[in-house]
């Protein structure tokens, strides 16, 4: 281990032989892959391939039928979602998910839940520590809104934001938990080209800070552009894995996405 030049290839997240059955439906079969420290890995595949299901398993929202997920060598098997979050693993949701009826700023304040050092007693007795903790959270909240680029919207109701801005707020909420790894479920779906470009910038910024990222996305150019590695899922099974260049030319991937005819066409 000490002979490794850097920790860049240390797996932080390892998914080991996961299977998920919903009654008779097999959503995932024997899925194994790793995400290394600081990597951006994309999980792609056609609709219904099992990507969101994989996210739900990793983040503790769903118990797998078989297999285990480990994060930084801790097994996540028996953890509840909020416990997974406190290990530094944060997620966003495929369907836009913000606290609709409170302001953007309050959303992030909620997201900062785990970051406050005030106790129940501080709160009830209005001790000085409570005031300091709250002031600290407020400045963190402003910072996060700056990072994702929606600080101008701070006082608006989250539900009144544009679709793209709600997606960004979702990312701010995940970032508020101070994660070391982010799981993003189709973050740019519904964003226009400018918003997508801005989002890719954000992703690169986070990547630059050493954040490990697992990305589910249908936007193929974006996936090819940002990913270190790509894992391709079809009918709950991993059919290919590798750097973008290798995935692009993989006949099985093309077949999965475009059907038989297209793959024969591509092979010629």
């Amino acid at each position: 281990m000490s002979t490794m030049p850097s920790n860049a290839s240390q797996p932080v997240l390892s998914v080991e032989h996961i299977a998920v059955h919903f009654g008779g439906l097999i959503a995932i079969t024997d899925m194994s892959f790793v995400v290394n420290q600081g990597e951006i890995v994309s999980l792609i595949g056609p609709n219904g391939a099992g990507k969101t299901t994989a996210f739900n398993v990793i983040t503790g929202f769903l118990r797998p039928t078989k297999g285990e997920v480990r994060y930084k060598n801790t097994s996540l098997s028996n953890l509840k979602p909020h416990e997974v979050t406190s290990l530094g693993l944060a997620r966003t949701f495929q369907r836009t998910s913000v606290f609709q009826s409170v302001t953007v700023f309050e959303n992030v304040m909620i997201g900062l839940h785990r970051r406050s050092r005030s106790t129940l007693l501080d709160t009830l007795l209005a001790l000085p520590r409570e005031g300091r903790a709250e002031a600290e959270l407020r400045s963190l909240a402003h910072e996060l809104l700056e990072i994702v680029g929606i600080a101008r919207r701070a006082d608006e109701l989250a539900g009144s934001l544009s679709y793209g801005d709600q997606r960004l707020l979702g990312v701010a909420l995940a970032l508020a938990t101070d994660p070391s790894m982010l799981l993003l479920d189709e973050p740019v779906s519904g964003m226009n080209a400018t918003e997508t470009a801005r989002f890719m910038e954000l992703l690169n910024k986070l990547h630059g800070r050493g954040m490990s990222i697992l990305l589910v996305e249908h936007d193929v150019p974006m996936v090819m552009g940002v990913s270190d590695r790509i894992v391709v899922l079809n009918y709950g099974r991993i059919i290919a894995e590798g750097p973008p260049a290798a995935i692009r030319g993989n006949p099985e991937v093309i077949r999965a996405y475009l059907g038989e005819g297209a793959s024969r066409h591509a092979a010629h």
């Binding site: 983040t59 929202f61 509840k80 979602p81 909020h82 979050t85 406190s86 944060a90 997620r91 949701f93 998910s97 913000v98 606290f99 609709q100 009826s101 409170v102 309050e106 304040m109 909620i110 997201g111 839940h113 785990r114 406050s116 005030s118 129940l120 709160t123 009830l124 209005a126 409570e130 709250e134 959270l137 909420l173 995940a174 508020a176 938990t177």
Partner: protein, 344 residues
């Protein structure tokens, strides 16, 4: 201006015994005040976590009985011939213990039922209230059953060496209730405007998202149940020592319904809602007594409730707040923006 409202209201209520000497009306203020405290406690659960406790009166009754029994003393024989004898303790310890026992019951009910939430929580709370009522009715040796616990001493605050205060008069009881109301209000306010309250609101709004940012659902729901039940228990204790008599009817479903009506009409999830709703529904019987029989009073009660819910579905307080802030929002460029979005 808005920040001053609570202080103005407090000053106004503090002045009531100075100019109001009619014992009937003062009594109405006191009993309404006690019910308002109970409604405030219900609001913490219903308004902030979104959980409907339809057995909330159980905590109120438990506080009342516990406080009364601690201050009256009792002598009961348990199964196996074990006798438990309790000598009367100072009344204020009854208040404290009543509050704590109710809070403990809140903890138990919360732990048991929040795993299954929603409709199940409603059912568990109703059943809990009914079980407690049956215990109060049938454990005659402890509670006197339907004969009621009588001669409950009035609240006394004793400080050895300093002297003591007792609450015999209506005036003093009025101030006692007002003091408990203010403390409860502050406790709820502190909770709601902190990370605890934010966690509760998050759970009500979007549970999956709340959990994904690291909020422990069970912890915050149980915490809300503990505080809610404890405050209801404190109200129950005030009730017992004010009326000096309690029977199993304190567990009547009607009281829970009254609390729910107070919270919903005033505005759930607002600090002032239960107070406004409580004053209205606490004083309807008073206002109507000169011209209506009790049956008619109940019909009026129901009608008013229906009208409020239809006209102001969010309750009175949110409607008033919106009305006061309306001049600002109406000059907002909102309609303009909407128009711009419409144009292709």
């Amino acid at each position: 201006m808005k920040r001053l409202v609570p202080y103005i209201a407090l000053a106004a209520f503090a002045s009531v015994p100075l100019w109001l000497h009619d014992p009937y009306l003062l009594n109405a203020f006191i009993t309404t005040g006690i019910l308002i405290v109970a409604a405030m406690s219900l609001n913490l659960l219903l308004g902030y976590t979104g959980q409907l406790s339809l057995g909330h009166v159980a905590f109120f009754g438990i506080g009342a009985y516990t406080s009364a029994l601690v201050s009256l003393g009792f002598d009961v024989e348990l199964i196996g011939g074990i006798r438990v004898v309790h000598e009367p303790w100072p009344v204020w310890t009854g208040f404290v213990i009543g509050t704590l026992v109710a809070a403990l019951c809140g903890y138990a009910v919360g732990k048991l039922s929040f795993k299954v939430r929603g409709a199940y929580f409603v059912i568990v709370t109703i059943s809990f209230a009914e079980v407690v009522r049956l215990v109060a009715l049938n454990w005659v040796e402890l509670t006197q059953g339907p004969l009621a616990l009588t001669s409950i001493p009035p609240m006394t605050l004793g400080f050895p060496g300093v002297g003591y205060l007792d609450f015999y008069s209506k005036q003093s009881n009025y101030y006692l209730v007002l003091a408990v109301l203010v403390v409860s209000y502050i406790v709820i306010q502190r909770l709601v405007y902190s990370r605890v309250g934010r966690a509760m609101i998050a759970l009500k709004e979007n549970e999956s998202l709340a959990v994904s940012v690291g909020i422990d659902v069970t912890r915050y729901l149980v915490l809300a149940a503990i505080f809610s039940a404890g405050i209801a228990g404190a109200a129950g204790s005030l009730y017992a020592h004010y009326l000096k008599i309690i029977d199993p009817d304190v567990f009547a479903f009607l009281y829970t319904v009254t609390m729910v009506i107070m919270v919903i009409s005033g505005g759930k999830g607002t600090l002032a809602g239960p107070i406004v709703g409580g004053l209205i529904f606490g004083f309807i019987p008073v206002a109507a007594r000169s011209f209506a029989t009790p049956e008619i009073q109940w019909i009026l009660y129901g009608l008013l409730m229906i009208i409020i819910v239809f006209v102001l579905p969010k309750g009175i307080v949110p409607a008033v707040e919106k009305w006061f802030s309306a001049p600002n929002t109406s000059v907002d460029p909102e309609p303009l923006q909407a128009k711009m979005h419409d144009t292709p």
